[in-house]
Symmetry: C2
């Protein structure tokens, strides 16, 4: 993690959190004056679970994984953080501790903004507060869906779901770089890494996807959706 400002200002930033549109010029200025830019190398930890929520984090460039450090050192990967996203766990408004850790996958450029300032703006600007609630709600909705997926689907369904997630939400393409290792795919779908390998092979053998070490190509989207939905 190094610092020094590369981004000129929030106002001109093309990757800014879209909810900043609800702020007045002077409010956005306040954010701009109190942000701290940082860049991370692949693998570096950006936020550590359990540490104080002194800052909200905004992704400007690159990709990161958000994950909960669970039982016996096992991780549970929740999702991929992308440019324009706010990273602020529920702990910020509950116990002032980060609920999860965040680690860079590619190189990442991000801005930290003091939580006291952020919270103050939420209090005085109703539209901004509402947009934050919308953001939190969307994340919560997603986690509800994931919970059902995890508890009601078998392995192939869970893996299919994640492959579609990468296609639809991360890369917006049927062909993409698999930026997670097999181990990490397992941490995202609650399965052993060996099983990830086996199911990927099954999907490839049945012509649903092409898969090599670092690439995934969805060949039969309908069938993949069906596998994902059927469980």
């Amino acid at each position: 993690m190094s610092s020094g400002n590369l981004i000129v200002s929030c106002e001109k930033c093309t990757r800014k959190w879209k909810n900043f549109q609800h702020l007045t010029k002077s409010e956005l200025q306040l954010i701009n004056e109190n942000r701290y830019e940082a860049t991370f190398k692949p693998g570096e930890i950006m936020l550590k679970q359990g540490s104080p929520t002194s800052n909200a984090l905004f992704m400007a460039n690159g990709m990161a994984k958000t994950y909960i450090e669970g039982i016996n050192g096992k991780n549970f990967i929740m999702n991929i953080a992308l440019p324009g996203m706010l990273i602020m766990g529920p702990g910020a408004y509950v116990n002032s501790r980060h609920t999860y850790s965040v680690a860079a996958i590619t190189s990442v450029q991000a801005c930290f903004i003091g939580f006291d300032i952020f919270k103050q703006l939420v209090r005085v600007n109703g539209a901004f507060a509402e947009s934050l609630i919308e953001d939190i709600s969307a994340k919560s909705l997603r986690s509800h869906i994931r919970m059902v997926n995890l508890s009601q689907k078998r392995m192939s369904g869970r893996l299919a779901e994640v492959l579609l997630y990468f296609s639809d939400e991360v890369f917006h393409n049927d062909e993409y770089e698999m930026i997670l290792s097999r181990q990490e795919l397992g941490e995202m779908t609650s399965m052993a890494k060996e099983c990830v390998v086996r199911i990927l092979k099954e999907l490839e053998d049945s012509g649903v996807i092409y898969s090599d070490l670092s690439k995934i190509k969805i060949l039969d989207r309908k069938k993949l959706i069906q596998i994902s939905e059927k469980g």
Copy 2:
């Protein structure tokens, strides 16, 4: 579901949502004038997943289960709604559809409040908005923890966790009525009803709990916590 007001006013209601403390007198009055009281018999559905989020729901008396209707008609029970709680899923601020269903377990008394009014108060009252964010965050935090529990623990750990949940969060007592059927306990822990029976028996045989058809008594809390945490 029958109607007719039994509760005199929000101001005097002892079971009101604690976040109403942030409202002014006239704002609370507005809530009071626009609420619709309802009582439900055990088993009746109070909110149906997928239906429009026209109202927020407040529990005044009794207990209800909130559950997602998942794949192949399988339900996933999220938690038990108790007096004083707000029931408002993330859908309210995302797609205006209820994310989950709610069904009465005991007889339930509850108040519906039009979502437009509720939303308006969130917009104009910063402290109220903040308290809503806190409420949502607490629920979100809980669901994160549950997600890890579900994906990283084996059956006995998952069931132990739920038994402790009832003791700590629902009844505040080591001895309580098991208001859910074995089937429903399975829907809460992602296991088959037969397995619920077997694990309960195991826990009883090892002296950790006493269990009969409708009652649970925690005999060795330390051991139960250990089982829950170890997975």
